[in-house]
Symmetry: C2
Amino acid sequence: MIDKCLGAQRSRKIQKALRHCKVTILCLVLTIVVLRGTIGAGKFGTPEQDFVEIRDHFYSRKHAEPHRVLEEVQTTSSNDRAAIDTNNYNEFDINKILIDEESDDSKPDSNKACSLGPKISDWDDQRSRWLKENPNYPNFIGPNKPRVLLVTGSSPKPCENPVGDHYLLKSIKNKIDYCRLHGIEIFYNMALLDAEMAGFWAKLPLIRKLLLSHPEVEFLWWMDSDAMFTDMAFEVPWERYKDSNLVMHGWNEMVYDQKNWIGLNTGSFLLRNGQWALDILDAWAPMGPKGKIREEAGKVLTRELKDRPVFEADDQSAMVYLLATQRAKWGNKVYLESAYYLHGYWGILVDRYEEMIENYRPGLGDHRWPLVTHFVGCKPCGKFGDYPVERCLKQMDRAFNFGDNQILQIYGFTHKSLASRRVKRVRNETVNPLEVKDELGLLHPAFKAVKVSSS
Amino acid sequence: MIDKCLGAQRSRKIQKALRHCKVTILCLVLTIVVLRGTIGAGKFGTPEQDFVEIRDHFYSRKHAEPHRVLEEVQTTSSNDRAAIDTNNYNEFDINKILIDEESDDSKPDSNKACSLGPKISDWDDQRSRWLKENPNYPNFIGPNKPRVLLVTGSSPKPCENPVGDHYLLKSIKNKIDYCRLHGIEIFYNMALLDAEMAGFWAKLPLIRKLLLSHPEVEFLWWMDSDAMFTDMAFEVPWERYKDSNLVMHGWNEMVYDQKNWIGLNTGSFLLRNGQWALDILDAWAPMGPKGKIREEAGKVLTRELKDRPVFEADDQSAMVYLLATQRAKWGNKVYLESAYYLHGYWGILVDRYEEMIENYRPGLGDHRWPLVTHFVGCKPCGKFGDYPVERCLKQMDRAFNFGDNQILQIYGFTHKSLASRRVKRVRNETVNPLEVKDELGLLHPAFKAVKVSSS
């Protein structure tokens, strides 16, 4: 109607203004609801209800406004894609994830990024249809061997600490080595999402995008850039998780009973591709938007979780809160794994490497030989970490060498010590290289071999 | 005999001393022969003959001394491996590749590293037997699709230039992206071989080691850390090389006729696993040993090759010299490729990226859209490059973004400009992500799909 009576451009401007109003109202509601959690629910409901309301407010079809908002997104997308001015769309577009750090868009704005994308409800169907039509891209690449994509990343800017990029480089080499041995692909992200990639929330839209783009991926393995593989021989027990969709290192009691903010760790986790993943990402995201929302959500988390310091909302605390307050909804598909170190806190591991070498062997993955050593709090890329810089860097070198030795031994070498970059030969060259037994069986590991048909 | 009359330890010491003498004599001969090339052959022979003599001196069974030297290496290896004191073995061990930079071993020593390892003559047989016995590790992973291992690396030390590691990080991300799309595995080396990895000669022992350890690898693709993929859609034409064992970017005329030192480039090349590869590595290596040999060999190369500046022997010049002087021996298996940029000199490419975007598309691989942009001479990790630092870094950013855009477009994003780290959305989210056509067909490329058998 409007288009007939006014110029098309004017009508678009009016529609844009209307959309702005709607989003402003929606996000203000969100802010108020979160604020209630800090002031006290009073007669307005509990934090859990708040959390549920925030989520429902965006995705429920019961509310007219969000419904219309979503419809417009979809209509615009399908009908008029070519004409979309991405700048105009940004202000309205709750899908806009990547923020221009130097434009106005990057300033904290409660209107920004209230959802990860248009609601998809039939992803399992879409995905299974695609897999049938694309047998050359199977989601299982061997018996009990899902196709896994390891996702990690860092800021596109050079580190403030000059040596930080060197540790990022060693960290990705470490991941390349593990993944090569285990038949896992890597996606290294450097698109600037928040001010820093280590800004943790940026992983959510990235993960969603990758799941939806790669239906052939069965498990997405998120891993922080400050986490390193220290057991090159350990294969994740995929069968154990056949009924689970999200695997994190943690303990049930610490999450569900204590609501302890470190009851689980989101620095290294497995997420199965599917509708459930999209749903939990949507439920996880609302505390993330930079600025007032994230600050106020942080206060809720500090108040509600055990031992949590005061700081803005982080994805890990938000996950604890989500699971603890909505166990019935998510709990049966979440596996909190403590039998091996899918994430291993560096503080209790790094001084024991020599003892591990003395007494144990790779392949155990647990406290005896941790799969992952995770340097939480070290922040080698930034200027200020939670621990003395020298301790962190020295231990990161040791952890890197501990893992690297397992690669080098395949080829007959080892580091001169865990502190040394230098390597030495431990096995001589031979004219019969194929008779060499590499002790850890990592040269041609069974968990990597994939039968390939000849056509 | 000696063992019966003397203690075992004394006899080992005497044998060791004898071996030291032999190796000293051998390497002195090498030095003299190389020196002759600079003084003038006179009645002693031509440089070509010198080159041949150097090689034959080490590997020919016609000379008693080298023969005995090799025998002792093999005997020691197989009989007494457990008792080998690696420190003692180092001085004799011409196989010792990795040099302790802080010990005496690291000082330039004409006794060091005169060969890459014990001579293997039946590698094709060993390899083909292994492949038969290991059908789960085939050397072809699809029709016309060989198994390829991309090998690259950098120093284990932080770069002298603080920003250097950031560029190494971007460079490896770039390689991860290309290789993920093309089903290629990566080996990132950080073991300290020479003073710096960019010391070029260190790649030879690394390559040999990897070929012999990985018989399943059909092609080893060496790529310098300062080379980046700028055409994510281009698949190497493997069929073209079915009768070749070594593929480098270059021109026949410039190598065989002009002996031009940049007639080919060894910053990005393909080497087929097999006996021929071992042989050419052995033939290539003699000019490499640090110190007098490398210096003197450098003078030969400057004198013999067209336009070569004065500096120590480098692997690229040595390859030109090897091919130009022994074409009959190697030439028929060497493919000098100039139809696309397996290596593309950055100087003539980087200012044309906008023009390329305007007029062409990815997938061409050649001057219109180069497969590889190689920043020869920039040396971002060190203090002194051959070009102004700012020009190099700025162009490396542009080249990275040029390639990265091809990855980002898969997911609906692009850099705001070739100079900008920032990204912007160019395709909206949709509730039907699997109907999205990614224009370059990189999301599920045909050259990556591999049929997997179900058992």
